[in-house]
Symmetry: C2
Subunit: 189 residues, 2 copies
DNA sequence: TCTCTAAACTAACAAGTGTTAGTTTAGTTT
DNA sequence: AAACTAAACTAACACTTGTTAGTTTAGAGA
């Protein structure tokens, strides 16, 4: 755990503000005020507002990609892969709640990195859907519309950032288990 | 079906733009361009940008409140009330996809009407949660954490606006049925 | 033809936007 | 003591923002 640089502090503060009002509604003066400095001083540490957004979103997106790659390479049942996906989302979200808000709500304001982000997202969803389809083929999962199953799971998981901060008492493992029960218990044969 | 006034056209166009980039990132000049007119001309029909947001969000929020009131007064099982909630979301979303995006993502930019919106939302969630709790008491529903069940259902339903436009071929009834199967089938005893 | 009206226009405003340039401050290293 | 460095500052820029005021246009009703 490296010590937090001033740049990291700025990015973390920005994440919090972006979560509350969205990227476009947060000005560099808002961010500076939250840091207790003047707007121009921010530029000693970062190059642009856009760079902050990119730093927040891309690193999380890559965490998801890495996690998914590990999961698809694992030799287990498809149900257990889905459980791993739930855990992946709970873990990533639990340690970067604010950043997840930007990933969900402000990705379209990425400029140079927009295409790269969309590529990662599409690959992620393709992998997710394949696990469900193979689960259905293997009779592990009910023969419902696989896209609806993925949609239902993924939107729930993507919204965790709204829910986790309200339940500080609940630990990540318990939450992942309860969620798996609700989300997967339902589609299990 | 009254004919659409110029004001309605503006609100509908605004909904579409707000869905794509969010309220704060859409300028009055963007909106005017999309309408094929100049920004100042918008003010012949509307009083402010804020009024547009209010018109979009509050009317939908009230539709949900009305729908929920009908459901809680109906004399059926709690499971069937949950199915009605799914249908309510599918129907409202299907005929105002763009508006649902603002309701989900831009409610915090409401000014005068923010408290009213939050009141409606809180009441809605309280009613939703009560149905689940009563369903558990009556052994209609698995004894899982009721808040997690609501969270899972509600976030899925709130994200329908992203999903419905991609599946024009699927009709609202089929979607509501499939969704109920996935969402409720899982928690049914 | 004259008047009315819906809906567009041009021009401008005051405030707010992201960002740059150059300077000051205070602590650390040589 | 001198030099360096991280991190703040003031001042300003060019541009964009929502909005207002006053004017023009074109079609409908009298």
């Amino acid at each position: 755990m490296k010590t937090e640089t001033r740049k990291d502090e700025i990015i973390n503060t920005a994440s919090k503000l972006f979560k509350e009002k969205g990227y476009s509604a947060v000005t560099m003066r808002d961010l500076a005020t939250a840091m207790g400095i003047k707007a121009a001083s921010l530029y000693n540490h970062i190059n642009s507002k856009q760079e902050i957004l990119k730093a927040i979103i891309i690193s999380i997106a890559e965490e998801f990609t890495n996690g998914m790659n590990t999961i698809i390479q694992s030799e287990t049942s498809n149900i257990s892969k889905l459980e791993s996906i739930v855990t992946l989302h709970v873990n990533i979200t639990a340690n970067n709640t604010n950043g997840m808000a930007s990933l969900n709500n402000d990705w379209m304001h990425l400029e140079d990195q927009l295409d790269y982000y969309l590529q990662l997202r599409n690959e992620y969803e393709d992998n997710f859907l394949n696990i469900i389809k193979e689960g259905i083929s293997a009779s592990e999962i009910k023969n419902s519309n696989p896209e609806i199953i993925m949609f239902s799971m993924l939107t729930t998981l993507r919204s965790l950032y709204l829910w986790i901060p309200k339940k500080e008492d609940l630990n990540a493992n318990d939450l992942a288990n309860s969620l798996s029960e609700v989300l997967i218990g339902g589609i299990n044969n």
